[in-house]
Subunit: 429 residues, 2 copies
């Protein structure tokens, strides 16, 4: 057995008791008579004391930072120690001896740039900040799922190797599939729609791929997409669901990750329900009034969103009713103004974190919609044929996990929050 | 609004009240004076009555099976109706009119073969049996995660596009990655080990790919792998964790999916803890004693497992301590008998549903282990280098979701349980 207790479980109730702890040597100080080791495990950091006359002194003396060890010792209350207790070592087993010096400082005192951090990623992931990021992410996706379970959704898994592009042909990664041409899915869009056409309320959290040429803090070529699709519903129903998801998520992270937020020195945004909505057309007017050269039909990208945020001053807001032609082919037009669509983006300050819409459920309209976008309906027949067999009205959205994590951690680049990011220049580690 | 109530929410308390329901026309019978529609939504099936003199009679008369409709009507208690109530229609809105005849019978009276079912998959997924499978799967993965959360695990996401093979070079799908050679991950193995080397307890539920040439009921080229990795632990710790996972999962499915199990007419296996263990060597002896031509070092495949099951007669059992050379390079040898390994497979009757081991955490041993398997340590340097920096002892396993689903549903082929399976001949839908 490598441990009897996690470090966070040690307290003065164990005073005088023998325990076994295991973890990594976070820091080590030799103060002549005594060696003080800060030992780190997944639960926290605790102090180990090795007396000079102890039989394990020789082992402790040669320990290196980040070596993995298992230590048997006796708990002693001590007000000066980090948790009010320290462990006096009787046995030290070196489970894995770390080379010295380390290529990256795990304690975080010596800062490293992002390229170094990604190259030396294992050590970087051991930093308390990255441990906090990983924990917050796990709590966030758990919370996302819990809100959906509560609303009667089931989790599904859709195919990732596909025969044709889901949203047009750009930015696809080709796969050699038993000698046939295939691609990696850009999104689960068409498959989640089909599943909603059978099971009504479905969600999926899974990788998706886009061959992004550009190097930005907000794009990766492989990313985790949180996808939801809901039958007998429209975009207003889906926006309400997002409000509930985000509200619960921020509160769950606040409650379950207070230590982690402290480590990151970050305060979560307050989520007010309902989340404010602004129409695309109004957003364009505001941007024009601020002197931007922008017109109906143009995209509202991050630079424009920064200007908009300075006006709106809301941490979270929806931009709704986008021009129909600027949205994917499956988006539903607005009944009274068909140049617009029943669509929305959810914006955190100046970053789009989710995008959704009511979907069109009429075959002829979908075929026309493909054609006006230069796409061939024949390539989509596996999808279109089902609109002959009772596809109900439906709506849904996709949310990018890495971008959401920027909102939940205060970090500035998706390359920081993803353990092993993939972009044009990164395929290893 | 498409509905005010789900069908399962209708009961005699609503007698005389107006409700709006939405769903698909499951069956329709015209009994001269009246039309009886069985309407199906995600919650169940309920009866709609259309009187001959009603203003919606003409609409109801022309309805087709699987058309999606929204119906406003008045609830009336009636002992003869499926849930003790029926809805007398006042308005019928046809949301999507289905072509007739259907290429597949959704009520399940006319049976179809698996090829037809996969081709007409949307209609197949609407069958109550497939709805039950989807629900059970969602509950199973929820339960899997809950047991892991309880044990202090966090959910992680590892890269799926990789530069080199994780477990040897066979059966990889090549990806064209910005002009570079890359592959789809066969498993998250090396990345989950690295993450355990930082965060200790991690799990992932994600797609993995193997270019399976063979067409069997147990293999797909794209599958969902449930992966767990645990630092400061060995294979015994991991087997204990699996026992807890499976025990909770079977009980959660029993509790949350009693209707679904009834629809499938399936009784779940009883899970007894601890799950029986048999050594590989003993298994080989049993198979020999049954006249099989098998020797130490041979694989124990499904045909052999069927023979073994007839002897052992346990629904679930571990086969432990496999020959070291027949396991992947990262597997740890047994200390006292290095030709064996600290490894296990979890078997459901005659089907392997999980596979795991203690992992080796010594760089030199790993390098040698690669070499004796004909692999080049240089290709694994991104992984091996970390064993110089305090990689603790660790252990883990991978579990195939589709195979697990055979245990939870009684179905016979993974192609049935996966909504859109991928194999050598299937890339669409």
């Amino acid at each position: 057995m490598y441990r009897t207790h996690f470090i966070s479980e040690l307290d003065s109730n164990l005073d005088g008791k023998e325990v076994r702890v295991a973890g990594w040597v976070h820091t080590i100080r030799n103060l002549g008579g005594k060696i003080f080791i800060l030992l780190r495990d997944k639960s926290g950091i605790g102090q180990i004391v090795v007396e000079k006359n102890s039989k394990v002194y020789e082992i402790a003396k040669d320990l290196t930072l980040e070596s993995a060890v298992s230590i048997l010792g006796v708990v002693k209350s001590d007000q000066r120690a980090p948790n009010g207790v320290e462990v006096h070592a009787k046995e030290i087993e070196v489970l894995s001896f770390a080379k010295s010096p380390l290529p990256l400082d795990v304690t975080g005192k010596v800062k490293a740039d992002i390229d170094t951090r990604l190259r030396e990623r294992l050590l970087d992931l051991r930093r308390l900040e990255m441990q906090a990021v990983l924990k917050i992410q796990s709590v966030a996706v758990k919370s996302f799922r819990n809100t959906l379970y509560k609303n009667g959704f089931i989790e599904v898994f859709t195919p990732k190797i596909i025969a044709s592009a889901t949203e047009g042909g750009a930015q696809l990664f080709p796969v050699v599939y038993f000698g046939k041409e295939a691609f990696l899915a850009q999104s689960p869009q068409l498959y989640k729609e089909l599943l909603a056409g059978a099971a009504e309320r479905v969600f999926e959290i899974a990788p998706a791929w886009r061959a992004e040429e550009s190097d930005t803090p907000y794009h990766l070529s492989e990313f985790i997409s949180m996808d939801v699709e809901m039958a007998f519903a429209d975009y207003n129903d889906v926006m309400k669901l997002i409000e509930e998801i985000i509200y619960n998520m921020v509160n769950d992270v606040k409650r379950e990750c207070s230590n982690e937020l402290k480590i990151l020195n970050y305060t979560l945004p307050n989520v007010k329900i309902p989340i404010n909505k602004i129409t695309y057309s109004d957003a364009i007017e505001i941007l024009k009034s601020k002197g931007l050269n922008i017109k109906f039909g143009d995209d509202i990208g991050t630079p424009e969103l920064r200007v908009l945020y300075n006006e709106i001053k809301e941490d979270l807001y929806f931009i709704i009713d986008w021009p129909w032609l600027s949205r994917p082919f499956y988006t539903k037009q607005k009944k009274d103004s068909p140049q617009l669509s029943e669509s929305f983006d959810l914006i955190f300050r100046w970053l789009e974190i989710a995008s959704g819409s009511s979907r069109n459920n009429v075959r002829e309209v979908l075929e026309n919609s493909l054609k006006v976008r230069g796409l061939n309906p024949e390539s989509f027949e596996f999808f279109l044929k089902w609109f002959d067999y009772g596809m109900p009205p439906h709506a849904g959205f996709g949310m990018g996990l890495a971008r959401l994590m920027l909102m939940l951690t205060g970090l500035q680049s998706v390359k920081e929050v993803v353990p092993f990011p993939r972009d044009k220049k990164r395929l290893v580690p």
